[in-house]
C-alpha cells in the first residue's frame, strides 16, 4: 500500500474516504498478485506488468468503486442520523406525555403568542403598510383647503377646483370627487340603495388603474348629462353574476337611466371600500365662481418631474394668488397637500401602533412564560441526566435530545398558531369598526408568521437547552451519589427576574385597559345636550334644477316634516341642515351690530351654521336656555331671527345677554337678524367632539339657494323600530316627489357608534391583551411558586419539624409571591407612566396618569399574586416533616 501522507490518516476523523479506501484495496490486490507471480518465478517487473494487465484499467476501477463507496457512505450516515432522530423524538414525546400540564401550557403559550402576534400584524400590515391599489400609489396626493380657523383638511370649493386644474403644473392629473353616498337602483331586480361615488374623469386617469371591462370615464362623459357609470368588481359579481356582456346595458340610478361603460377589477376601491359604482361629475356641477361651499375632495398625481415639496410650494403660491384675486372668499384660506397613503391611514395610525405594541408585550410575556416553564422543568432533571451520562450518553447527545423535545413543543405550538391566527384575524375583522380603511385586504401574512414563529421557537430552544449547558458545571458523580441538586442560585434569580418582568408587562396592559375603560365610561356619561335615544334620520338633497330657489326648497321640507310627523310611531320630527348624515357643517362669518371685529374683513370669525325647521329643538329635546325656539311664525316674510348656541353666546357676550342683539352675515347686503334664543350646546357630531359654537336659522328664512340638503330627524316612541319608520318616511318622501330618493338613513345612535368605534375597538383589544397577559402571569407565578415549594420540601420540612406552624410556612409562600408581584407592579407602573404620552391622544375625559386606574391595577396584581400562591401555600403547609426529611 502506498504511503499515505500523515495528515491523510487523520482525515478519517472527518469521515470515511471512499477514494482512498478503494485505492488501498486495489493496491493490496495487486501486491498479492505480484507476490504470487514472483513466487512462480517471474521478476518483480514482469510480475507487476502482468498483474496490472490482468487487473485492467486501475483508474477506472478505482473511480467506479469510489463512486459506489460514496453512495454507500451517504446512505449509511443518513440511516444513522434518522435512527438517532427517531430515538430522540420517541423519547421526547414520552417525556412530554409524562408531563402533560407542562406540555399543554407550553404549547398554549406558543400558540397564543405566535398566533395573536401574527393576526394583529397582518391587520396592521393590510391597513398601514400595504400599498394602495392604484398605479404608482406613492405619486398620488390628496389636496385640501385649510380654513382660517385652522381646519387643515377641509374639502374644496368648485371654483378652486377649476383654478387649481388650470394653474397647477406640479400635477399631471388633478380631479375632484365626492361621496360616497347612496343612490337608488331600480329596474334591475329589487329596488335598492347602492353606494356610489362621483369622480371627474381626471381622477380615473390619476389613479391609473385599467378597467377589467370597457373603459373608465373620459372628458366627454363630464360634458353631457353624465348618464354613464362604471361598476365595481364586487357589484358586477353580485348583481350581474360576472356577465361579460354587461357593457352597454342600462340601469336606473336615482330614476335616471344610466349606461354601463366599464367594470373595474377586483381590489379597486376609491375613495373608500364599499363603493359599488362610480358616476362622472358633470361640468355643470363645478361652478367656477362658487367659492363658498366646500364639497369636493381633490386627488392628484404628481407630474414625473415634480416632488411633494415642490408641489406644496406651488400650491402655496397659487393659494396666495387666489387670496389676492378673491379676497372676500379666500382670505385666510390655504392649501394642504398630503400623500394619499398618509392621508388614508393618518387617523388610524396611532391605534394600530398601539395594537402592535400591545401585541409585542404579549409576545414578550409569552416568551417569558415559556422560558420559565422550560427552566423550571430543566432544573428537576439533573438526576436523569446524570444517570444517562453514566450510561454513556455524551453531552452532545443529551443536548440534542433536549433540543428535540423543545422542537416538538415548538412544532405543536406552531401548528396551534397556524390554526389560531386565521381564526383570530377573522374574529378581529368581525368586531372591527367600519371606519378602519382597507381592512378587506387583511390576510395572514406568512412572513410575520415565520418571524414570530422564529422568535418564540428560538426562545423555546434556548431555554430548553439551558439544562444541558449546565451539565458542564454540575458534578454528575455527586448527583448520582445522592448529593443535593447542584443548581446554581443564578437560575432561580433569572426565573424570578423573568417573572417580575412578566408582571410588569401585564401591569402595563392593565393600566392601558383601565384608562380606555374609563375613557369610554366618560364618553357614555357625557352630557350630549340632547336626547339621542330613539332618534333616526333620513338625509335628502334637492336637485337644484327642480328646486332652484329657497322658497320652493323650504316649502318641500316643511311639507316633508309634516308628513313625517304623521307616520305612525313618530313622536316628533324636524329638519336640520347640519346633523347626522350631512357631514360637517358650513361656516359663515358674521358681524355683530354695533361692533367692529378685529379681522381684516371687519366681521367675526367664521362659525358653524345650520338651518332648521320649527320644532327642531323640541324634537331633539335640546334645551333653550334663554329666549324661545323657532316657531311657525318665523317665515320668510317675517322678521329675520336667529338662535345661537351657549358657547357662541359666551364667546361674544361673556358679560351681558345675547338676547335682543342682532347679527348679519354681510352688513348692508343681508338683513340684520335678531337673536331670539340661546340653545344648550349639543354634541350633534359625536359624543367625544367638543361642541362648537353654532348659529341656528329658520330654514324658511335662509337666503342661499344652494343650501338644498337636510336631515330629517325623527324621534320614535318606545318599542318602535326606527328602521321601519325610516322606510315609511322614504315612502312619504316619494309620494311628495317620486324622483327623489334619500341619500342616507340611519339612527343617530348608530352614527355615533361609528364615530366612537375605533376607540371602543382599541379598548376591547387592549382589554383582551391584558386578560391574556394576566392569565399568562398567573400561570407563570403559580408555576414558579409551586416549583419552589417542591424543591424546598426538605427545608420546609425541617422548619415544620423545628416548630414553625403551618401559618408561618403559608406566610412565607404568600410573602414571596407578593414580593415578586409588587416588584413587577412597581416596574410596570413606572413604565406605564413613562409611556403615558403615547396613549394621551386616544383618551377622553381621563388623564393618562389617572391615579384611580393605577391604584386599581396594583390591587388587581396583588390579588392575582395571592390567588396564584394559594395552592402552593396550601401544599407547603401540608408537607409532612417526616416524609420530607426522609425522601430526597
Amino acid at each position: 500500500m502506498k504511503d499515505q501522507p500523515v495528515w491523510r490518516r487523520y482525515a478519517r476523523i472527518f469521515g470515511a474516504d471512499p477514494e482512498a479506501d478503494a485505492d488501498a484495496e486495489l493496491q493490496f490486490h495487486l501486491a498479492m498478485r505480484i507476490r504470487d507471480y514472483m513466487a512462480r518465478g517471474m521478476s518483480e517487473q514482469e510480475a507487476r506488468a502482468a498483474a496490472e494487465a490482468r487487473l485492467g484499467d486501475l483508474a477506472a476501477i478505482r473511480r467506479e468503486c469510489a463512486a459506489t463507496g460514496v453512495k454507500t457512505e451517504r446512505r449509511r450516515s443518513r440511516r444513522e442520523r434518522l435512527g438517532s432522530l427517531r430515538q430522540d423524538l420517541h423519547y421526547g414525546a414520552r417525556a412530554l406525555v409524562r408531563a402533560p400540564g407542562f406540555a399543554l401550557m407550553a404549547v398554549l403559550t406558543l400558540a397564543v403568542g405566535i398566533g395573536a402576534t401574527t393576526a394583529i400584524f397582518s391587520l396592521v400590515h393590510a391597513v398601514l403598510l400595504a400599498p394602495l391599489p392604484y398605479g404608482e400609489p406613492d405619486r398620488l396626493v390628496r389636496i385640501y383647503e385649510t380654513s382660517p380657523q385652522g381646519a387643515d383638511r377641509t374639502v374644496v370649493s368648485p371654483g378652486n377646483v377649476v383654478d387649481w386644474t388650470e394653474r397647477a403644473r406640479s400635477f399631471s392629473q388633478l380631479g375632484a370627487f365626492s361621496g360616497p353616498y347612496g343612490v337608488s337602483l331600480t329596474g334591475s331586480g329589487d329596488p335598492s340603495r347602492v353606494t356610489a361615488a362621483e369622480i371627474q374623469p381626471a381622477v380615473a386617469h390619476a389613479l391609473g388603474v385599467p378597467p377589467r371591462l370597457g373603459r373608465v370615464f373620459v372628458d366627454e362623459d363630464a360634458e353631457g348629462a353624465g348618464d354613464v357609470t362604471v361598476l365595481s368588481h364586487a357589484f358586477w359579481q353580485e348583481r350581474f353574476g360576472e356577465d361579460p356582456d354587461v357593457l352597454g346595458r342600462r340601469i336606473v340610478l336615482n330614476d335616471h337611466p344610466t349606461t354601463i361603460v366599464g367594470v373595474m377589477g377586483p381590489g379597486f376601491d376609491f375613495p373608500r371600500q364599499g363603493v359599488e359604482l362610480w358616476l362622472p361629475i358633470v361640468a355643470a356641477r363645478i361652478d367656477p365662481n362658487e367659492r363658498r361651499s366646500h364639497n369636493f375632495g381633490v386627488v392628484a398625481r404628481l407630474a414625473p418631474s415634480a416632488t411633494l415639496e415642490g408641489a406644496r410650494a406651488e400650491m402655496e403660491t397659487i393659494a396666495r394668488l387666489l387670496e389676492q384675486e378673491h379676497p372676500e372668499f379666500m382670505t385666510g384660506w390655504g392649501v394642504n397637500v398630503v400623500g394619499l397613503h398618509d392621508d388614508i391611514t393618518a387617523s388610524v395610525r396611532p391605534l394600530l401602533i398601539l395594537l402592535l405594541c400591545g401585541v409585542c408585550v404579549v409576545l414578550l410575556i409569552a416568551c417569558g412564560n415559556l422560558a420559565n416553564l422550560l427552566l423550571a422543568r430543566g432544573v428537576g432533571r439533573d438526576r436523569e441526566f446524570a444517570v444517562r451520562g453514566a450510561l454513556g450518553a455524551g453531552r452532545g447527545r443529551i443536548a440534542r435530545q433536549l433540543l428535540t423535545e423543545s422542537a416538538l413543543l415548538a412544532l405543536m405550538g406552531g401548528a396551534g398558531a397556524v390554526l389560531l391566527a386565521p381564526a383570530l384575524l377573522g374574529g378581529l375583522l368581525d368586531v372591527a369598526p367600519a371606519g378602519i380603511p382597507r381592512l378587506d385586504g387583511a390576510t395572514i401574512d406568512a412572513r410575520m408568521l415565520l418571524f414570530t414563529g422564529g422568535v418564540t421557537v428560538a426562545c423555546a430552544l434556548l431555554f430548553g437547552l439551558a439544562p444541558a449547558l449546565r451539565l458542564a458545571r454540575a458534578n454528575l458523580q455527586g448527583l448520582l451519589r445522592g448529593a443535593r441538586d447542584a443548581s446554581p442560585a443564578g437560575h432561580a434569580r433569572l426565573r424570578g427576574g423573568l417573572l417580575i418582568a412578566q408582571v410588569a408587562l401585564s401591569v402595563l396592559l392593565l393600566v392601558g385597559t383601565g384608562l380606555f375603560v374609563r375613557s369610554f365610561a366618560a364618553m357614555q356619561a357625557t352630557e350630549l345636550g340632547f336626547d339621542e335615544a330613539g332618534l333616526s334620520y333620513i338625509t335628502v338633497n334637492l336637485p337644484l334644477p327642480r328646486y332652484p330657489e329657497s322658497p320652493q326648497q323650504s316649502d318641500f321640507y316643511h311639507r316633508l316634516v309634516e308628513r313625517a310627523q304623521q307616520v305612525p310611531g313618530v313622536l316628533s320630527a324636524a329638519g336640520t341642515s347640519h346633523g347626522p348624515g350631512t357631514g360637517a357643517g358650513m361656516t359663515f362669518s358674521f358681524a355683530i351690530e354695533g361692533r367692529v371685529a378685529q379681522n381684516a374683513s371687519g366681521r367675526e370669525d367664521d362659525e358653524l351654521l345650520t338651518a332648521v325647521t320649527p320644532g327642531y329643538f323640541q324634537a331633539l329635546r335640546q334645551r333653550i336656555v334663554r329666549g324661545r325656539a323657532f316657531e311657525e311664525r318665523d317665515r320668510a316674510d317675517a322678521v329675520p331671527v336667529v338662535i345661537i348656541s351657549e358657547s357662541l353666546a359666551r364667546k361674544h357676550w361673556p358679560e351681558g345677554d345675547a338676547l335682543g342683539e342682532r347679527i348679519s352675515f354681510r352688513p348692508g347686503e343681508t338683513p340684520w337678524m335678531e337673536i331670539v334664543g340661546v340653545a344648550e350646546d349639543a354634541r350633534i357630531e359625536s359624543p367625544d367632539v367638543e361642541p362648537r359654537p353654532l348659529i341656528y336659522i329658520p330654514f324658511a328664512q335662509k337666503s342661499w339657494d344652494w343650501l338644498t340638503f337636510m336631515s330629517i330627524v325623527t324621534r320614535v316612541g318606545e318599542g318602535v323600530d326606527p328602521a321601519s319608520v325610516n322606510v315609511a318616511l322614504r315612502a312619504a318622501m316619494l309620494e311628495l316627489d317620486p324622483d327623489l330618493p334619500p341619500l342616507s338613513m340611519g339612527t343617530v345612535r348608530e352614527a355615533f357608534r361609528g364615530n366612537t368605534a375605533s376607540r371602543s375597538f382599541a379598548m376591547t383589544l387592549v382589554a383582551g391583551f391584558a386578560a391574556i397577559a394576566l392569565l399568562l402571569s398567573v400561570v407563570g407565578l403559580y408555576g414558579f411558586l409551586s416549583y419552589a415549594v417542591l424543591r424546598q420540601r426538605q427545608e420546609i420540612g425541617v422548619r415544620l419539624a423545628l416548630g414553625a406552624t403551618g401559618r408561618d410556612v403559608v406566610w412565607r409562600v404568600l410573602g414571596r409571591s407578593l414580593k415578586l408581584s409588587l416588584a413587577g407592579a412597581a416596574l410596570g407602573t413606572l413604565a406605564a407612566a413613562g409611556a403615558s404620552s403615547i396613549v394621551e391622544s386616544m383618551l377622553y375625559g381621563v388623564s393618562a396618569l389617572d391615579t384611580w386606574t393605577y391604584v386599581l391595577t396594583v390591587l388587581v396584581v396583588m390579588t392575582i399574586a395571592l390567588a396564584a400562591a394559594f395552592i402552593p401555600a396550601w401544599q407547603a403547609a401540608h408537607i409532612s416533616p417526616l416524609q420530607a426529611l426522609r425522601s430526597e
Binding site: 478503494a22 493490496f28 498478485r33 446512505r75
Partner: protein
C-alpha cells in the same frame, strides 16, 4: 467455458462471490483466488469487474466490509455476508438451479419443431 465472452455474467459473478463468502470472511484477492481454484482456473475472474461487484453488493447491504490484517500482515478490506446476503445467496442459488434445469431440458430435447427439416 465463457472465455470468449466478456466474462462471467454479472449475476453469476455475484452468486460466486456470495458462495465464496459462505465459507467465511475474505478479502477481494482471496475471493478471486478461490473462484479460480474451485473452477480449475476455467473461470478466470475478470478482476476488473470483481471489485465493482463487491462494492455494489456492499452498497445493497448484502456484504459488510471490515478492515483487518491479511495472512501476510498487510492491511486489507475483508467482507462478510450479512443476513440479507445469506438470503440473497439462497434466492440466487435457486434461480441458478432453475435456469440450469430449464436450459438443460431445452438442450436435451428430442422433438423437432414443426418447421425443421428431417435429420439432426
Amino acid at each position: 467455458m465463457f472465455e470468449d465472452d466478456r466474462g462471467l455474467l454479472q449475476g453469476t459473478l455475484d452468486l460466486l462471490i456470495l458462495k465464496t463468502l459462505c465459507w467465511g470472511p475474505a478479502h477481494g484477492y482471496g475471493i478471486a483466488r478461490w473462484i479460480e481454484h474451485t473452477t480449475d482456473d476455467a473461470l478466470s475472474v475478470e478482476e476488473g469487474s470483481l471489485y465493482p461487484a463487491l462494492h455494489r453488493m456492499e452498497s445493497k447491504g448484502w456484504i459488510e466490509p471490515e478492515w483487518g490484517i491479511s495472512e501476510n500482515n498487510r492491511k486489507a478490506k475483508f467482507y462478510r455476508l450479512t443476513t440479507e446476503g445469506h438470503a440473497q445467496f439462497a434466492r440466487k442459488t435457486r434461480g441458478w438451479e432453475r435456469l440450469v434445469r430449464v436450459v438443460d431440458s431445452a438442450l436435451s430435447a428430442r422433438e423437432a419443431p414443426a418447421w425443421a427439416e428431417q435429420g439432426p
